[in-house]
Each structure stands twice: as structure tokens, then as C-alpha cells.
């Protein structure tokens, strides 16, 4: 009898050990990430932004004012980057090559540095996931990277497209799923957005916002599930939740690529976008709160709720850093209020928006870079990344910091100079907010700035 009990105990121990080893091999570690910092000749300062807006002959006075107002109130600073064709004045005559050139500069800048800093060879990569929403070429950008860096012929590659500003979290989802069935692997995620071929040259106001907000940028990340590399890694993925509100027509159409009434292609942003973002976010929170908040906090919340008192979840009880998609000042503010955070908590997102603009899917990584450069990330901290994207999706993931992080990366110059966050457009264009003159409809605005 005792022997049987002993056998059962040993079996349970061995089973648990095997299960533990399997789970450990499925963990997703972020080894390193490199954000793209384009060269200084690609900076879009106030002067240049104003002149680009002014040279669009399709704009009437009202549209011009609208665009200028949007830029002034966007929260973007003097140093964000644009693609070469727009800076050279060819925003309306873009070619496929311009889009590819923008991507090539990004790949060469970040990937070489990534491989050198991590001492990983491109031949060790088992999985490559690329996501660029607005550019789809043949061969895919994933194939382009495989060609550039001479990767193995059994590398698995996936090229995601059209998935919006939250696509980098979707790419991480593919990687973490891959790690569950493939041991000892390395994955490379490349996320960016193609601005060059997507400048809107029409005069539909709801499509002009993208011209004001989106900027060039990108990020490459190296992830692994090798247990031996855990100590060298920066973050470990704890959970990932995806919410898709596409079933609702209002959510589906709030961010859409389409032709305007004159047949010019642009990206339409609906007025209800912040409201839809809030709805998606609420659904996403409901699931992720269960996994990342401490039990005491959850207990407190339920007790308050059932005793019919006003119950709010204190997210700071489980999360130390909030990494929010800097989609625009309105979106950041909406989430800040929704989560009950103060301005310091959303400062990284606001700084990222100011310095780099909205770089779409890669913007979360610039926010992460800022927090790291400010030496705020300590071992054991929990970080919550929240991204929104057209569809309408809200994707979020929680990372745990493995070791104290202090790499200044692309924020080095900002940290060194300790620049004050000023709105550079206010000096030149602040009159736009007080301007109440509205000319009769149809009259063209000819004055040069």
C-alpha cells in the first residue's frame, strides 16, 4: 500500500517537474529592441510643416485653417521625422520606390544595430514577423529582410498588413504562440508604418488629420524562449489580450482607408474615434484586469461594487508603468481619465508624441524607450502596453521587467539636453486658435505664409 502511495507521489513530482520545464520553455522574453531614429535631414519642423500645408493647392481657406489648427494642437514638436519624398516636395507624386526606400532606411538603421548589440546572427532567427499597415509589395517586406540579412531557408516568415496601429502587439501574439510549440527559438519582429506613399492630397477634413499626426518611425525587437537567455533579456511577457470590435459597424468604419468624393485615396478618421477607443478599451480591461491586478485589489473592487458604493479599479495596485499608444492628445487624455491616472503616468506617451509624433504600430516602443532612458524600469516592475488600431481593435499586453534597465537609446539627446516640452507651433501659428474669420464657402486662400 505504502509503495503505491510512494509511486503516486513520485509520479506527481515528475509530472509537475515536466510541466514546469515545458512552461518555462514556452516563456516569451524580449531580448532587446531598437527604435528607428532617422537622419536629421528628415526632420519636419514648424517651417517645413507650414510650407507643406500651404503648397497644397486643393485646400480652401477653411481646410487650411483646419489643418493648421490640427497641427498646432496635435502635441507634436519640432523634431519628428517625415519620409524623404514629402520633404523634397514630391508628396503628390510618390512612387512605390519611395515607400520601399523609407523601409530600407529603417531596416538598415535598426537591424544592424540590433544584431550587433545582442551578438545574435541573422542565421539564428527561426521566426520573422513584419507588420507595416499601409504598404504591401511583392515580394513582401519579410522577404526583403530575409534577402538583406541572408537568413536561413527554413525561417518562418509572416508579413502582416492592414492591421492598424496595434499591429505590433498582434505580431508579439504570433511569436508567443510560436514559442508554445517550438523550443529554443529566436524570433525577430519588425514593426513600422509607411508614410511616403500615403500623403493625402485632397481637401476632405476627416482625412487630413493623418497628414498632421503620422510620422516616420519603426522598431525591431528580438524575442526568444531560450531559458539560458533569460538573464540577458529585458522583459518577460506575462499576458496578452486582444479585443476586436469589428462586429459593430460604427467601430469598423471609424478608421478606414477609402477614396474621397473626388476619388483621392486617404485615411478617414471618424469623430467618434475616441469614444470607440474607450469602448474597446473597457472590454479589454475587463479581461486583463483579472490577470494582472493583485487579488487584494480585485477583492476590494468587488466588495465596493456589491456594497453599491462607487467602485473604481486602482490599476496602480498591480501595474507600475503605463505604456499608452500616443495616437493623439485626445486619445491619451481619454485613457488617462478612464484609468484614473495622473499626468505623470502618461508623461512618457506625451513626450513620445511630442518628440517622434504618432509612428503608428511602433509608437509603443518609443514610449517604452523613454521610460527606460529615464531609468524608471526596475527589476520586478510590471508594464502595461495598450495599443489601438483600426478595425476597431484594442490590444494590450503586460510585461515584467527582468533586470534594471538604463539604455538611453534614441532618447539620448533629449535626456542630455533636458529640453522643456514646448509646443513650437504656438509661436508662429497660435493666431489660428483665436481666428474667428470665416470667408464665404468656395473662396480660395491664396496668401503665402
Amino acid at each position: 500500500m505504502e509503495l503505491i502511495m510512494l509511486a503516486i507521489c513520485i509520479w506527481t513530482l515528475l509530472f509537475s517537474f515536466y510541466h514546469f520545464c515545458k512552461k518555462r520553455d514556452q516563456c516569451c522574453y524580449l531580448l532587446h529592441y531598437e527604435c528607428h531614429k532617422p537622419s536629421d535631414d528628415r526632420k519636419l519642423n514648424t517651417e517645413l510643416s507650414g510650407s507643406i500645408v500651404a503648397r497644397n493647392l486643393n485646400l480652401g481657406h477653411l481646410e487650411y485653417k483646419f489643418m493648421l489648427r490640427a497641427i498646432v494642437n496635435s502635441g507634436i514638436g519640432e523634431d519628428s521625422y517625415g519620409p524623404r519624398n514629402i520633404i523634397d516636395g514630391r508628396e503628390n507624386s510618390h512612387s512605390l520606390e519611395d515607400g520601399i526606400l523609407e523601409m530600407d532606411e529603417f531596416f538598415k538603421d535598426t537591424l544592424s544595430q540590433l544584431f550587433v548589440k545582442t551578438k545574435v546572427s541573422p542565421k539564428e532567427i527561426d521566426l520573422l514577423v513584419v507588420n507595416v499597415s499601409l504598404l504591401s509589395c511583392a515580394p513582401s517586406l519579410a522577404s526583403r529582410i530575409i534577402n538583406m540579412y541572408q537568413m536561413r531557408d527554413d525561417v518562418k516568415s509572416y508579413n502582416l498588413s492592414g492591421m492598424g496601429c496595434s499591429a505590433s502587439i498582434i505580431s508579439i501574439n504570433i511569436v508567443s504562440n510560436f514559442f508554445k510549440s517550438h523550443r529554443n527559438s529566436m524570433a525577430l519582429v519588425v514593426t513600422s508604418e509607411s508614410i511616403a506613399p500615403n500623403w493625402y492630397s485632397g481637401n476632405d477634413k476627416s482625412m487630413m488629420l493623418t497628414n498632421c499626426l503620422f510620422r516616420s518611425g519603426g522598431c525591431t525587437m528580438l524575442l526568444t524562449n531560450k531559458p539560458a537567455m533569460k538573464n540577458r533579456s529585458k522583459l518577460q511577457l506575462k499576458c496578452l489580450v486582444r479585443t476586436h470590435l469589428g462586429a459593430s459597424d460604427e467601430a469598423y468604419t471609424c478608421g478606414m482607408q477609402k477614396e474621397d468624393s473626388q476619388g483621392i485615396l486617404g485615411f478617414y478618421l471618424d469623430k467618434n474615434l475616441p469614444k470607440t477607443a474607450k469602448r474597446a478599451f473597457t472590454q479589454n480591461i475587463a479581461i486583463i484586469a483579472k490577470t494582472c491586478l493583485s487579488y487584494t485589489e480585485l477583492l476590494r473592487y468587488f466588495v465596493m461594487k456589491y456594497s453599491k458604493k462607487k467602485a473604481t479599479l486602482n490599476f496602480k495596485a498591480g501595474i507600475d508603468h503605463f505604456c499608452m499608444h500616443p495616437g493623439g492628445t485626445a486619445v491619451i487624455e481619454e485613457i488617462r481619465k478612464g484609468l484614473g491616472l495622473n499626468h505623470e503616468d502618461v508623461e512618457p506617451s506625451k513626450m513620445s508624441l511630442h518628440r517622434f509624433g504618432n509612428t503608428s504600430a511602433s509608437s509603443l516602443w518609443y514610449v517604452l524607450g523613454y521610460m527606460e532612458a529615464q531609468k524608471r524600469m526596475k527589476k520586478g516592475d510590471k508594464l502595461w502596453m495598450i495599443g489601438f488600431g483600426s478595425g476597431f481593435k484594442c490590444n494590450s499586453c503586460v510585461w515584467e521587467v527582468i533586470r534594471d534597465l538604463e539604455d538611453a537609446n534614441v532618447w539620448e539627446d533629449v535626456i542630455k539636453n533636458e529640453k522643456e516640452e514646448v509646443n513650437p507651433f504656438m509661436d508662429r501659428f497660435s493666431w489660428i486658435n483665436q481666428d474667428t474669420y470665416d470667408p464665404p464657402p468656395g473662396s480660395l486662400f491664396q496668401k503665402k505664409m
Binding site: 509503495l3 509511486a7 513520485i10 509520479w11 515528475l14 509530472f15 515545458k22 512612387s95 512605390l96 520606390e97 499597415s133 499601409l134 504591401s136 509589395c137 511583392a138 515580394p139 513582401s140 519579410a142 522577404s143 526583403r144 530575409i146 534577402n147 541572408q150 537568413m151 536561413r152 531557408d153 527554413d154 518562418k156 509572416y158 508579413n159 502582416l160 498588413s161 492592414g162 492591421m163 492598424g164 498582434i170 501574439n173 504570433i174 504562440n177 510560436f178 508554445k180 510549440s181 517550438h182 486582444r242 479585443t243 476586436h244 469589428g246 462586429a247 459593430s248 469598423y252 478608421g255 478606414m256 482607408q257 477609402k258 477614396e259 485615411f267 479581461i287 483600426s390 478595425g391 476597431f392
Partner: protein, 487 residues
């Protein structure tokens, strides 16, 4: 000749069934012995072995441990429940006369390009019933984003409606959605469009693959397989299509006019499952997926390349080395998949010749394994007549093996990633798919990629099939496709 083939067949029979050859004599001998000893003799032997309880328990324990580890580390089976191919309406048909008339009107300043298109069409292997989307029927074509979305909605929703009717699945049951369309990628993605139309769940895991070429269908299957390993008890819906509307080349560069002649409208919706209850009703079980990417080689990377012509018009440039590169990519792919699918006899012969060439005499002819022994049916991507010819030669296939590919090219044209499913539907419609048969799907794509998937048929598929794209024309097939159709 006949004696050597019968020797070969005997050799194959022996090697493939070697385990039976060893076990059968042992079983017969044991049965004879047991018969001789009788029941008492067996009990006497058992008592003399003298095992105590600890030893018995340890043996049982070790067996249990091994069984647990085996069952825990076994990958989940992935079943193909059913699939549905889009059948374009007759109004979208583009017979040769229509195509050439359009070509003459649109390219009136370039008679040499018109001639080129005519020569391609004559030798293409396409028939008179292939279809192009409505926007391309205009002179000149009107490829707006709205028209492209319209084509996407038409092909994808029709396939999905048919699939849901066939399988009885409800939209809320779908856990994973993967859409692949190479050259059209709007924002929100086509996967978001499907989620919107069918009101799929908000926790759906959706992915939209783009730019991955004609082999993207198998890439999506691979992704679905990986996802189904991580999510038990789930349904994955894969939609493979190519939207022609925005990609019709409007220029006159000859190398870039080729895709206009070959690519046609099509789509397929495939339902995959890892649920145990589907193991009975599923049509196929996924056995292997092998992906090969030759992108590291510059020539391979550039052989199918989207670029602007001197006039700034975007089109796909097909290099003259395409066939050679396809052959090399296929060789790499076969090297990996060969050991997984070839029977023991072929592998042994290959090993013997390899050792012989290395050690004894390098002049020995390399042994090309007979892949017809590995699988019963072949679905070769209907990329063009030349691709099918090349593969028939390298794999030494008979005309019947490549019949599905040739007839799909004839009836539907090159529908890119969905062509493999039209070919599978052809084999089923002909009543050739029996339980236990294996199918090998091979697809090539820009990059340059060669992807293969091997499926095993789960249940004999009875004809006539209710919702097959071949329903009204299967009796006419196979047709004889001449080398050149004089226009």
C-alpha cells in the same frame, strides 16, 4: 525492363513491411509454443520468474511515466473539416476574344505588346471560362479602392457562406481567423472586414497576411497549425484569395503584362479544427507542412518583383530565370519533406546510392526518390503551364497526377493562393479521393518560396459533391489542351 520493375516492387514490399516480416514469424513461433505448453505450463513459467511486488510496481510505474510523457508531448492533430471554393458568375467570364479585344483597345499604341499578350494567351493553358472581376471589364479598367473592396466582399463572403452552410458552424464558434491576400491590403484589413460582416467574437485571434505570393495559402495553414497547438478545442478559419482589381497592369512593358494574362478571380475558405469530435467528420488530417525560403539568394529574391515601369505604372516583373529558381527551391523543399513522407524502401535506396557515391564511386547516378510512392495525389499550384511541365518532369509524374493542376488552370486560370483548393476539389469531384489517400500540395511564391503541405484523407469522399466549383462541368473534364491555341 519488366523484370527489373518487378524486382523493385518486391524490394519495396519487403522493406516497407519489414516489421511485419520480423513479427509474424515470432508470433507464429510463440503461438506454437503456447499451444505445446498448455495453460499449466504457462503458469509454471510465470511462477518461476520470481518477481516481487516492487519490481512489478517499478515496471508499471516506468510504463505509466513513458505513456504520460508521450501523450503530453504529442502535438495536437489538426483536421480540415471542409472547404469551399468560390465559383465566379458567368457574367465575369473572359473568353479569349474578350481579352484580346480589350487588349487591342487599351494598348492601341503598342501593337507589339498586343501581339505578345496574344502569344502568351495561346500558350497559356487557360480556357474560355476563366473570370475577371467587374471593374476590369471596363475599357479602360476602373480599379478604385471601392471596386477592390467590392470584389473582396463578393469572393470572400460567398465562399464563407457556402462553407458555413456545409459545416453547420456558426460565426460565434470561430476562434482563429487568418486571411491572406497578396496584393490588396486595405486598412482596416480584410480580416476586420470578415469580422464586421459576420459579427465574429470580440476575442477572436485574427491575422491578415499580405505580400506573401501564391504560396500564402500554405503559410496561413502553417500559422493556423501553430495557433491550434496553443489553443485547444478551437476552430480556425483560413481564407485564401487574390484580389485582381487593383493589380491589373496598365502599362505596356512586356514582362509585366504576363500576370494580366494569367491571374484570375478566385477564393477559398477552409475550416480547420483540433476538436476531437471533428476527427470523424473531417475530410483530411494535416500531416506535414514544410516551408522553404530562398530569399537569401539575390536572383531568387528578384525573380518575381513588383516595380514601376519607365512610365511609372506598377506591375509585377517575372524574370526569365523563374523556372530554374523554382526547380532549385523545389529541390530544397523536397530534401526536407522527403524523409517525412517517403516510404522506407525509397529512403533506403536513396541512402545506399548516397553512400555509394560518396565512398565507392562518385560516378553512380544519383537516385531520385519516387514520390509517387509517398503520396497518391498531387496538387501543384497552377502558376502557369511552364510550372506544371517543369514539376511533372522533375518529380517524374504521370499525366494523371498533374491532371488536377492542368484542368484547374484551364477552367479557373491562375487564382494564386486558392488554386490548390480548386485542384483538390477536382480530385474529389472525380471520385478519386479514398480514405487513407495522401495529398501533397506544392505552391511557389514571390520571395522566392516553395511551400508544401501533406494531408491524409480521413473518409472516402463520395460523388456527386453538392457544393463543388466543378459541379456543372466535371463531366467535360479532362479536356485535351493543345500546345498552342490559334487565336
Amino acid at each position: 525492363m519488366a523484370s527489373s520493375s518487378s524486382v523493385k516492387r518486391l524490394f519495396q514490399f519487403i522493406v516497407n513491411n519489414i516489421i511485419s516480416f520480423i513479427l509474424i514469424p515470432i508470433t507464429v513461433f510463440a503461438a506454437v509454443e503456447i499451444n505445446r505448453l498448455g495453460v499449466d505450463g504457462i503458469i509454471a513459467i510465470w511462477n518461476s520468474v520470481n518477481l516481487n511486488s516492487v519490481q512489478i510496481l517499478t515496471t508499471v510505474f516506468i510504463v505509466v511515466i513513458i505513456a504520460t510523457v508521450y501523450f503530453m508531448s504529442k502535438p495536437r492533430s489538426v483536421y480540415l473539416v471542409d472547404y469551399s471554393c468560390y465559383k465566379p458568375p458567368v457574367t465575369c467570364r473572359v473568353p479569349f476574344s474578350t481579352f484580346m479585344e480589350h487588349s487591342r483597345l487599351i494598348l492601341k499604341d503598342n501593337p507589339k505588346s498586343v501581339d505578345f499578350q496574344m502569344r502568351i494567351l495561346e500558350r497559356s493553358g487557360l480556357g474560355e471560362e476563366t473570370c475577371l472581376p467587374p471593374a476590369i471589364h471596363y475599357i479602360p479598367p476602373m480599379p478604385t479602392m471601392e471596386a477592390a473592396r467590392g470584389e473582396a466582399e463578393e469572393v470572400i463572403f460567398s465562399s464563407m457562406d457556402a462553407l458555413m452552410k456545409k459545416t453547420g458552424i456558426r460565426p460565434k464558434d470561430i476562434d482563429i481567423l487568418i486571411v491572406n491576400c497578396s496584393l490588396f491590403s486595405p486598412t482596416p484589413s480584410l480580416s476586420a472586414m470578415v469580422v464586421n460582416k459576420y459579427k465574429l467574437r470580440s476575442n477572436i485571434r485574427s491575422f491578415n497576411l499580405s505580400g506573401m505570393g501564391c504560396s500564402a495559402g500554405l503559410i496561413s495553414i502553417d500559422l493556423a497549425r501553430d495557433l491550434l497547438q496553443a489553443h485547444p478545442n478551437s476552430y480556425a478559419l483560413v481564407i485564401s484569395t487574390e484580389i485582381i482589381t487593383p493589380n491589373y497592369y496598365k502599362g505596356s512593358e512586356r514582362a509585366m503584362l504576363l500576370p494580366n494574362c494569367l491571374f484570375r478571380m478566385g477564393a477559398a475558405a477552409i475550416l480547420l479544427s483540433n476538436k476531437r469530435q471533428d476527427s470523424r467528420r473531417a475530410k483530411y488530417k494535416l500531416v506535414h507542412v514544410v516551408r522553404t525560403h530562398k530569399g537569401a539568394d539575390d536572383k531568387a529574391y528578384k525573380c518575381v518583383y513588383e516595380q514601376e515601369d519607365p512610365q511609372g505604372k506598377v506591375g509585377i516583373n517575372l524574370s526569365k530565370d523563374l523556372m530554374i529558381i523554382a526547380g532549385e527551391a523545389l529541390k530544397s523543399n523536397i530534401t526536407t519533406i522527403g524523409p517525412l513522407v517517403l516510404p522506407a524502401s525509397e529512403q533506403l535506396l536513396f541512402l545506399i546510392t548516397l553512400i555509394g557515391r560518396r565512398i565507392i564511386n562518385p560516378k553512380w547516378k544519383p537516385y531520385i526518390p519516387d514520390f509517387k510512392q509517398a503520396v497518391e495525389h498531387f496538387c501543384i499550384h497552377a502558376g502557369g503551364r511552364a510550372v506544371i511541365d517543369e514539376l511533372q518532369k522533375s518529380l517524374q509524374l504521370s499525366a494523371e497526377h498533374v491532371e488536377a493542376s492542368r484542368m484547374t488552370l484551364h477552367r479557373f486560370g491562375n487564382t494564386s493562393s486558392s488554386s490548390l483548393w480548386y485542384e483538390l476539389a477536382y480530385i474529389e469531384a472525380k471520385g478519386r479521393m479514398k480514405r487513407g489517400n495522401r495529398v501533397w500540395q506544392i505552391a511557389f511564391g514571390s520571395g522566392f518560396k516553395c511551400n508544401s503541405a501533406v494531408w491524409k484523407c480521413n473518409r472516402t469522399i463520395k460523388t456527386p459533391i453538392e457544393d463543388s466549383p466543378w459541379k456543372d462541368c466535371i463531366e467535360r473534364y479532362p479536356v485535351f489542351i493543345p500546345e498552342v491555341v490559334k487565336l
